[in-house]
Amino acid sequence: MLRFVLSRLLTFVPTFFGVTLVSFAFIRLLPGDPIQLLAGERGVSEARYNELAEQFGFDAPIWKQYIDYLIGIFQGDLGTSFVTKRPVLDEFMALFPATLELSICAITLAILIGIPAGVIAAVNRGKFFDQALMTTALVGYSMPIFWWALLLIIVFSSGLGWTPVSGRMSLMYFIDGPTGFMTIDALLSGEEGAFKSAVSHLILPTIVLATIPLAIIARQTRSAMLEVLGEDYVRTARAKGLAPLRVNGMHALRNALIPVVTVIGLSVGTLLAGAILTETIFSWPGIGKWMVDSIFRRDYQAVQGGLLIIAVIVMIVNLTVDILYGLINPKIRNR
């Protein structure tokens, strides 16, 4: 198992350098000169231009720029935002908990509903529940996120008034807790009603962000279960006189989970992409919204840094999934 983990870790290294190369190239491949772009409509004087070029290191040869960039990364320096003049890493870290909170809620919802739904559909293959679920999943998968979000806002926020329209917290409260997770900080703050407010703000964005992963997980669970239910060992389990819940929920599901875990890991990438839209629609102050705002503000340093961190996060998640995959699949673990 240790060797397995190490070999996985080794594959991490080239991927990481690939990602740094892409994010390094990003800012330099944009049409036009970055400093001109930065300066915008007004333009800059020759002297100011050279000063800026030196400040950002654009005057050095390209390989030197890359090396400096790498050194910066290893020192935790992802550049400074053109706009706020604060380090990109600090900006990112300040907003990341909001995105993390939303993503964790969304993926948890998707797993908690998607896996049981897929199992029940597979066990009742071809019957009403199965067909209803698969149709719903197809709709959920193909629905545009912003349209779905607006629909929910119109019905539950504007229409029924059950949930707030945007943000993480009612303006009545000022919560600044240690974890950055609004729900947890609200609980810790002990302010009455704060937790309820945090949860009610979280509901709609979570549903919107969970929709696509939920559809993917339910479909994948169903098809993996259908395959596994025909296996000989499932018949063996039933021949022991075990109850259907144990046969389906343990003997079959345990095997079906192997492909499902892969899909869950892959959907983390989808989740971050979805977070950009979801956060923008719900004015959720996370990195998705920050990235969009940075693009509109032409804050390329921020975009570049954000891209790199997001890519590394996706890589770490995939690595974790690979290791988890080994844990639930004895054939890989005990090689």
Partner: protein, 329 residues
């Protein structure tokens, strides 16, 4: 009272292309401590009939029987829950493919102890001891270590031994072994058969051995039931069956054994078992039978007398020659 009694069992599958009768009026009687074989070619409904007894067929199967009783319980009007208390405990089954019949995600020990947990009230320690005992019983060396092995770490023969240990966990009264050696190589086959028969003798359980190999039958069992295209075509004590087969199908199966061949080329039975779309009129074996005449191809045969092995044939053989010919023509 027989341990297992089945009268006129039929199983019909509803498939997308219509109904298919995979088992057609089978009778099986098993006494306690019995050792019998069900023999027939691939597709003759051996597995399906026993899966019906175990209650393991998919919902597409419709099961009908005049009598289907095990150990005094009527299996027909039993709920799924009641049935689950019997299978795996008093009646258990092992399957053809040992490698795929064990769950790859759980250790062998877990899978053995699971049966004990379900059907006995042994505690953790008791289950562990019993599992080790079972592994020793089926001849698995280093049982403590092997209990923690995953199925992919075992060979085919070891997997089948583990399956047998699992099936024997609760000391069943009846063990159904569905072609337990087909997937194994020849030397291992003999070991597993040896193991099964010695276990049958030691424990006093009844054993139904399903096979398509007459050669296996000769040295292993006491009584043989021959099945063809979902029907029981003959039943005899093993010695009598080999001396004087009464159904032409049995005779053809025996003639195809290498050790009984009289010519240099092995005689084969032409054709295959009829499936869903090519069921003939009259006797189901008639298209492949070298004694068949027009009467056979038109009229369904009825069971002959017990002296004639209950052969399902118009002209059951006696010492290789058809009888009753004159009467029909």
């Amino acid at each position: 009272m027989p341990l297992l009694e089945i009268r006129n069992l039929s199983v019909e599958f509803s498939t997308t292309s219509g109904k298919f009768r995979a088992v057609d009026g089978i009778d099986v009687t098993v006494e306690p401590n019995d050792l019998m074989a069900i023999v027939g070619e691939s597709g003759s409904g051996k597995s399906v009939s026993m899966l019906a007894v175990m209650g393991l067929l998919p919902w597409t199967a419709t099961i009908t029987a005049d009598v289907m009783a095990f150990n005094g319980h009527d299996l027909r009007d039993m709920t799924a829950k009641q049935r689950r208390r019997i299978i795996g405990r008093d009646m258990s089954m092992i399957f053809q493919e040992p490698m795929s019949s064990l769950n790859p995600c759980f250790t062998v020990g877990f899978q053995i102890k699971e049966s004990l947990k379900k059907h006995t009230d042994l505690d953790r320690k008791g289950r562990q001891n019993r599992a080790i005992e079972l592994m020793q019983l089926v001849g698995i060396p280093a049982p403590e270590k092997r209990l923690n092995a995953f199925p992919h770490q075992l060979s085919g023969g070891m997997s089948q031994r583990a399956m047998i240990a699992m099936a024997l966990a609760c000391e069943p009264k009846l063990l159904i072994a569905d072609e337990p050696t087909t997937a194994l190589d020849v030397t291992i086959q003999a070991q597993i058969l040896e193991l099964l028969t010695s276990l049958q003798e030691e424990t006093g359980m009844a054993l139904i051995l399903i096979t398509h190999d007459m050669g296996v039958v000769a040295e292993t069992v006491r009584r043989v039931q021959v099945q063809y295209a979902g029907q029981k075509v003959e039943e005899q004590e093993v010695g009598a069956l080999f001396d004087d087969p009464h159904h032409p199908y049995t005779a053809a199966l025996l003639a195809a054994l290498p050790e009984r061949a009289t010519e240099r080329r092995l005689p084969t039975i032409p054709g295959v078992v009829p499936g869903q779309f090519d069921r003939p009129q009259g006797c189901l074996f008639s298209p492949r039978c070298r004694f068949a005449n027009a009467h056979c191809k038109a009229v369904e045969p009825v069971q002959a007398s017990p002296e004639m092995g209950l052969a399902l044939c118009h002209y059951p053989l006696s010492h290789g020659e058809p009888t009753n010919r004159e009467k029909a023509s």
